[in-house]
């Protein structure tokens, strides 16, 4: 690891100012579970590491008045996993958080770090995209809000500009009669996902007919992606075996997986089919069961 400066700003303004300094190559540090690994092994050599630990107002889980939840960027995934508010309002987010690494990793790793690291395999991304979550971005003075599905621009790349930080993630209130879940496949415990599938399906009253649906896939494209063609195929349809099969096949068509050490592209396609089918089948069972698990 190369020598670097380390700063612990105590305000957002200060943190953003250091990050904005064009003279250096500053890197924000939340839990460090990505940053430190990259600095030690993957050639990341920032001139300044900016710790977010002392910056107030970044570590919180807030029950919004509209029924949604706002999660501070520097909230540990362990807190997300165990939060009563999240478990009540968007349990699939707690479920996805629980899939990340190990207890030890989740005690350090933050939700903002998971998103800003922008790995195509980030476990919290698909479900947050499926739930229509928004990223609240700040430059220390002003805030802007973007849909999380527009947040990622490539592997390791986001819409964050120099000097900008993710301040929070806002999960909108769950629509009535909606079912959400996240499924992950992996080679071993504590592995990045081989394929991740996040689903949020809203059903018509008293039936298994889809009113609205969002399906997001992880690790099958340069960024976590929404499977829009699959969603279009599903819209307005009654969920049954045939529809689910057609939708799962469509998801395979839109996924653009690559070969890597975790899996071949062909095997990832198998997983996209199987996992899409499984989340949709779970949703269907839920709807047929009158909206109970």
């Amino acid at each position: 690891m190369k020598a670097f400066d380390y700063v612990r700003p105590s305000t957002l303004e200060e943190a953003c100012a250091v990050l904005a300094d064009p003279a250096g190559s500053a890197k924000a540090l939340a839990g460090g579970t990505d940053v430190l690994v990259q600095m030690r092994a993957a050639g990341l050599r920032p001139s300044v590491v900016v710790s977010l630990k002392d910056v107030p107002g970044l570590n919180f889980i807030h029950a919004d008045d509209d029924g949604g939840v706002t999660i501070g960027a520097v909230t540990p995934l362990g807190a997300v996993e165990h939060s009563a508010v999240i478990k009540e309002r968007c349990p699939a987010v707690a479920q996805a958080a629980a899939w990340v690494g190990s207890v030890q990793v989740r005690n350090r790793a933050t939700i903002g770090g998971n998103l800003c690291n922008a790995a195509p395999s980030a476990d919290t991304a698909p479900i947050l995209i499926a739930l229509g979550a928004e990223a609240v971005i700040t430059d220390g003075r002003e805030e802007r809000v973007v849909l999380l599905e527009e947040f990622f621009t490539g592997p390791g790349q986001t819409v964050l500009g120099r000097g900008e930080l993710l301040r929070a993630v806002r999960v909108p209130p769950a629509p009535a009669r909606s079912f959400a879940t996240y499924l992950k496949t992996f080679r071993s415990a504590m592995d990045c996902c081989t394929v991740g599938v996040g689903l949020c399906a809203t059903f018509e009253e008293g039936s298994a007919a889809i009113k609205d649906v969002r399906l997001a896939l992880g690790a099958v494209a340069p960024t976590p992606m929404r499977a829009r063609a699959t969603e279009a195929l599903l819209a307005g349809r009654e969920l049954d075996e045939t529809t689910i099969a057609a939708a799962s096949a469509k998801a395979v068509e839109e996924a653009q997986p690559i070969d890597d050490i975790r899996a071949s592209a062909a095997y990832r396609e198998v997983l996209v089919e199987v996992m899409s089918r499984r989340v949709l089948t779970a949703a269907c069972a839920w709807a047929q069961n009158g909206g109970r698990g």
């Binding site: 690994v37 092994a41 071993s188 415990a189 592995d191 975790r262 899996a263 095997y267 199987v274």
Partner: protein, 760 residues
């Protein structure tokens, strides 16, 4: 057997220093003037070195030395000198990605790294051979010029008359099995500090599994007298065979130290560890097994090609050992074995826990199930008809004395629920088992097998035990201390074990091959007997009693029949301070080659004792994703006498986890240019606590070995049968047979697809 300290699951004597962080590893050592050494490694798997320009690196501030082949002795090296094929630094050719090309010593990490970047090497690429079949093709590019072919060593063993036996068999099965390169994944990476002092003495601090032979190796490659080399170990964080043979960073750091006059440290990065710290030898095995219709295995025929990697190391020893275990398992009367080593442009293989036996057992024990299937027989029943028995000599010469194979097998089968589950378990669930035989005491591979130990008592009755048994995490120090404490009659906490310095410890072959408990344990026992004799004599004199009536237990000394117990310290104080006669003991265990040993006819007589074992597993397979979930593993392994129950179970559990990795996850993957692409734990997966299922380890005691208190080694056997047990369970679950490990999700999906295609 009535014992006080042996056969108890006592806590390890190094537990507190390790858990508290007080234990010092070699990387924790600090030294005045210490320099950072780094190695420039080849980015090519095969290339000619056209030129090396070190001038810019040498000119960099803070760089104290830059060396290339020109600055180091020209000697070639290999574990066996007759196979020597590797220079300290490459002269004109590199043969795998990671080969040592140049090295620097600098004031700090950053400077050393910057210096490496400034060394300019011009390469001319040569064809890269990663595959043994390609390497063996006539006219293939030679990896070592001047050799006749890339096939570099072979061995044949023949016992009985396999052809005749094959003709007599009612059933013959045949198949090809494949294993790949695996990394040892020690948590402590390979590292050293070398200090070449003004008297020309070279001291190396490192983490060697065999410091005495490494001392010889360093002297050999540097062309200096052995007496000038001293190796000092610190606490070790794993070995698994990777720290047995000298790593080139030892002579490289030594030369850097000689040139700079300062100690030089070289530490592998994790990536270097994955790519250059050597691997398990991958085998391709063509195996035939033949049996009569009543299930007696008459013959086994194995052709095994080992991927040597770019240079020689433990290949011949590994393949020879494979042949011995192959010949011993089930006491098969007719055996043909052909083993061959082939050079490729990959990292070299070396010793790895199990030493060629896990690869062979994957083939043999998978094939037993295939044979049973063909015969319509329960695989457990087929094994029952072929188990090894005590006091048998196998066709290959193996002298099996104690043997608890039947007990192990029946126990494992019962515990996994064989009768209820085999062939009739829940859908997608299956059970499988596999047997194994392994050495329980190293081998007389050097023409002998011996160990020595020294014990001295302080004037307060505490005991210093000097043994050459290295503790790399397996618990050898605790086992040695228990043996000494039991025999001497002192408390375990009164024993201090020293084993870290070649100037202190007796010459020894090292800790490998489940050798330490059997060999070093016997030497420790003899030393304790020796010291005990002096102690008893001193006590008899002090207490005015007959030595035959003196009892010593838990550091108390008394005369038989008397209630007056004396502290051991009183006796020692008396004999030291009244008579000037301190108490000490020396013990030696020499295990000569037995009568009738000849290499072609009775090779396996080399093994002083055998250890048998069985593992049974239950798995669940997701047929859509290919995910295999190991639900339970039961291991029943023979220990002779279990010196420490907790540690023996720990050895078995750790081995089973490693066996699961071998079976399902682990493989070093190369790209077309020969670069290892999974050189970090993010990509190279080993089982962690979340992957390890419920495990039950049984230590099955047995009689008939010459180990201390009847003990056998248990360090290696535990991962030998895991993979075939899992393969057999997968077959039971979903009806597909995999002949290659690791059995990945993708392979399972592919095999299921092929099965469906063949059924329609």
């Amino acid at each position: 057997m009535k014992t006080c300290i042996v056969r108890k699951g006592l806590p390890r004597i190094d537990a507190i220093p390790k858990v508290s962080g007080e234990a010092q590893y070699t990387v924790d050592l600090k030294m005045p003037g210490l320099l950072v050494g780094k190695i420039l490694r080849s980015p090519h798997a095969h290339a000619r070195i056209k030129s090396i320009d070190t001038s810019a690196a040498k000119a960099l501030d803070g760089v104290l030395a830059v060396i290339t082949a020109e600055d180091v002795p020209e000697n070639l090296f290999a574990f066996y000198q007759w196979q020597a094929d590797k220079h300290i630094l490459c002269t004109d050719r590199v043969r795998y990605v990671g080969d040592e090309v140049a090295a620097v010593a600098a004031m700090d990490d950053d400077t050393a790294e910057a210096a490496l970047d400034l060394i300019k090497v011009e390469y001319e690429a040569l064809p890269v051979i990663l595959d043994i079949d390609e390497a063996m093709k006539p006219g293939a590019q030679l990896i070592h010029e001047g050799k006749e072919s890339n096939s570099t060593w072979s061995v044949d063993r023949l016992f009985g008359d396999p052809d005749k036996a094959l003709a007599e068999c009612d059933y013959v099965v045949e198949g090809t099995y494949v294993t790949h390169q695996l990394a040892h994944c020690c948590l402590e990476v390979s590292n050293c500090i070398a200090k070449w002092d003004k008297r020309d003495k070279l001291t190396i601090w490192t983490n060697a599994q065999a410091p005495h032979t490494q001392r010889q190796e360093v002297a050999r490659v540097l062309g200096i007298p052995r007496r000038n080399v001293r190796i000092i170990n610190s606490t070790m964080g794993g070995g698994f065979g990777s720290k047995l043979v000298m790593d080139m960073k030892l002579p490289i750091a030594s030369v850097l130290s000689r040139l700079t006059g300062r100690p030089v440290r070289i530490v592998n990065t994790r990536s270097e560890e994955f790519t250059t710290a050597k691997t398990r030898y991958p085998y391709t095995l063509h195996l035939k097994t033949g049996a009569t219709k009543d299930g007696k295995i008459l013959v086994r025929d194995l052709t095994l090609i080992g991927d040597n990697g770019a240079y020689h190391d433990k290949g011949p020893a590994t393949i020879n050992f494979s042949s011995m275990m192959f010949g011993t398992l089930y006491n098969v009367p007719n055996i043909r074995f052909h083993g061959e080593l082939v050079y490729t442009n990959k990292a070299m293989g070396t010793a790895f826990r199990g030493f060629g036996n896990p690869q062979v057992t994957f083939a043999t024990e998978s094939q037993i199930d295939e044979l049973a299937e063909k015969m319509g027989m329960d695989p457990l029943e087929l094994r029952r008809r072929n188990v090894n028995h005590p006091d048998e000599t196998a066709a290959c010469g193996a002298e099996v004395c104690g043997c608890a194979m039947s007990e192990c097998m029946e126990l494992a089968a019962k515990e996994i629920g064989w009768e209820e589950k085999r062939g009739k378990g829940a859908p997608l669930r299956g059970v499988g088992l596999a047997n194994m035989v392994h050495t329980g005491g190293g081998g007389r591979f050097y023409g002998f097998n011996s160990a020595e130990a020294i014990i001295k008592l302080s004037d307060e009755g505490t005991v210093t035990l000097i043994t050459s048994a290295l503790d790399m995490g397996q618990g050898a120090h605790t086992a040695m201390a228990q043996i000494a404490a039991e025999e001497l009659g002192v408390r375990l906490e009164d024993i201090n074990v020293l084993s870290h310095d070649t100037e202190l410890t007796p010459y020894d072959l090292g800790s490998w091959g489940s050798r330490a408990t059997f060999m070093n344990g016997n030497a420790v026992l003899a030393a304790a007997e020796d010291a005990r004799q002096s102690l008893v004599e001193a006590a008899a004199e002090m207490l005015e009693a007959d030595p035959a009536d003196i009892l010593v237990e838990e550091s108390k000394v008394w005369v038989k029949g008397s209630h007056e117990k004396h502290d051991l310290s009183e006796v020692v104080d008396h004999t030291v301070n009244e008579h000037g006669e301190p108490i000490s003991g020396i013990g030696r265990f020499v295990d000569h080659l037995p009568e009738g040993y000849t290499i072609p006819t009775a090779f396996a007589k080399n093994i002083p004792c055998f250890s048998f074992g069985t593992q049974a597993v239950e798995v669940e397979v997701d047929p859509e994703t290919g995910q295999v979930n190991v639900l339970r593993v039961v291991a029943a392994h023979e220990t002779g006498t279990t010196i420490n129950q907790t540690m023996a179970e720990g050895q078995l559990e750790g081995s089973m986890a490693q066996g699961i990795g071998f079976a399902l996850m682990e493989r070093l993957v190369h790209d077309d240019e020969g670069r290892i692409v999974n050189d970090r734990f993010l990509d190279y997966k080993i089982p962690n606590i979340g992957d390890v299922p419920e495990m039950k380890a049984y230590c099955v005691e047995s009689v008939g070995t010459r180990g201390p208190f009847g003990a056998k080694g248990i360090g290696e056997p535990g991962l030998v049968p895991t993979a075939p047990a899992i393969a057999n369970a997968i077959y039971d679950a979903i009806g597909v047979r995999l002949h290659e490990v690791p059995m990945t999700r993708e392979q399972i999906i592919k095999a299921l697809k092929e099965k469906r295609a063949s059924e329609t």
